[in-house]
Amino acid sequence: MTNPRCKTWEHHLSRRHLLGAAAGATLGAAGLGGLLHPAVAGELKQKRKQVLFIWIDGGMSQLESWDPKPNTRFGGPFRAISTSVPGIQLSELLPQTARQMHHLAVVRSLHTQDNSHSAGVARIQRGDPKDRGVTYPYFGSAVARLLGPGNSGLPPYVWVKPGSGGFKHQDAGFLGPQYGALAFGDGQPPENLVKRNAVSDQDLEDRDRLRRSLNQRYAVGRPPRNSEANDYVFDVAQTLMQRRDLFDMESITARERDRYGRNDLGRDMLLGRRMLEAGVTFVKVNSYGWDTHGDNFNGHASLMPKFDQAFAAVIEDLHQRGMLDDVLVIAMSEFGRTPRINGHVGRDHWPEAWSLAMAGCGIQKGLVIGKTNDTGTFVDSEEHDIGHLFHTWFRALGIDPVKTEYNNDGQPLPIAHDDCHVIQEALI
């Protein structure tokens, strides 16, 4: 009578132990414990891959960005402009990005399943896999798990966002809380980042040594998970204390801050780049306020240039620093916006035919994948769900999306939707 999709108590309980067993390997070095088929481990070690995931929350309009349909019924007021790649046009709201088009791959054939924010945000970021009765990790947690933290001492999954910071372990789903996101809010360092004057560097070192020694003794005979997880957060805390400079905007030249834009998104994109430079595996940069059900065109006329500036700057910088070949950059929302223009001169939620942009690590340069029909209402080529993108991204990062599986209490789980596949033309 047991429902195959529903786990028994054994699964639930043993999960913690397995996580515990895996925690040492994964949190310490770039381990692959808990994966059934670590066939790619050797490959991964060769070159360190990173991800910059730019999340445009609320839904960027594909028609005002990646897939313009100028002078058509639903095309809106804006023109299309030429880019650095002959034959490819973008909305005039992306002038600086257009000059970076030769680094980018634009997907215009997204066709996803959910048109609500509440479910859609999580569904997209979890890759919308088949329902197996488990909560899948967000892409950030998945990459943190699969690629590990590297040796930067920083957590593998960092979320740079407006508003509050903190540790968002819910992102991790069944992977377990340690794969959640460490969020930095409003460009601010976390609280209590500065060492107290009364504590000398030597004191700090002594304390750390004494604490470790106590923990080692305590861990004997006990499941290692608690001690290791606790050591890990202290390690991260210490690294962050040493890397306070990451948050010191004063140390950044005015020119550089201007290049990214003096707004939340510009600030966070710049901080995101610095996090990548510091070695963080997965950086999510989050912009809010794109749900333009009303006044969509003036809204995008105001919002898009801020995205354009920050996005073009980060692509250019990663390229100039020689990082782009190893950093996968993705810019996307939970869905696009309706072609139909409503009475509030807005556009509503539209998962049927929308776009995203990506660049870097393993991704083909200077092309458009898929197309929509003349009025932009539906996809007029093979449709691509988020599962196809997850396959493609994992492959771009050197992870075989078919052979690699999560091991959830002995329950093998695919890392991307089993009915989807890699978009070959997107890959180098």
Binding site: T292, G299, H344
Partner: protein
Amino acid sequence: MMLDPQELGVVETDRQVHAARCSPCGQYLFAGGFEGEVRRWDLDGEDSPELQPLAGHHGWVQGLAFHPTEKRLFTADSWGELRCWDYAADEPAPCWIQESAHDGWIRCLAVSPDGKLVASCGRDRRVRNWSTVDGKPQYEYTGHEHDVYNLTFSPDGKFLVSGDDRGVVKKWNVLTAECESEFDASSLYAYHRIQDVGGVRVLALDAAGKTLAVGGGKPSRGGTVQAVPTVLLFDFATGELQHTLELGKPQDCYVHDLVLRPDNLVIAVTSGTPGNGQIIFQRPTDEEPLFRSNKLANCHSIALHPDGRRFVVVATNKGSNGNGRRLDADGNYIGNSSPLHWFELT
């Protein structure tokens, strides 16, 4: 005159339009659309038949202005093109075209009272003047730092007034191109998250040139914009804010268009979250409107007929919004349209 407008009828359209204006001769109604078209109706004909449109623009046609005496219509689109038409011709052709009047979206046009100049403003932050005769550039008014949404001439022709997306309103000397003063309409602007919200949506001067009306909304949020529709009334000479008319709730959003009558009556239309539209008649000194109708959905434009009795309101079909896929019986994607509602003041 009683202020009790009676609806005369509706002219259905198969597409959305926004700005609508009646020709000074009273025979035609023009409306700019979303696909570069300028549509034309013969008001003298039975059932106001639609005539051949004025074709050739691109994108949105938001700027419409008439020559005061000649049968000339000036139109502007969101790709930066300005055109002059002999609007009464059977097959209208442009008299002249200024292809690159602006870089991109031209938001508004106005013709000087003497008919010599047509002024334009747009997203490129520029305010310019053109000869109505041949479209040659005349003056440029530099000073706005943001998208310029609207402009109008003073009745005496001495001043040009322009307003931008931050609520900055400038009063220009037409001939010297100097900014003589500013009106503070910054209450019509807010910065929410990373979005600039609001701005000056409409400007109007009364016939005597004493009162400047600035319409828009006091925004509380961006995205799905919420704003209290508002008209600010300034003394045009001193710049003093005399009245603030708040004409609805946050979901009513913006005053999109307004008329300031010689008796200082403000006639305004609003468009808010889908379905919310108002027609409002209000005296500046009154607390409450003399007339308010919220029967129409999302009113974007109002045009008085030269007869002084009739007016037309551009609204939107009901049920214009909705997430996700919605198809008609034939499986086609459904767009929206802009019914034109005719009224008469009795």
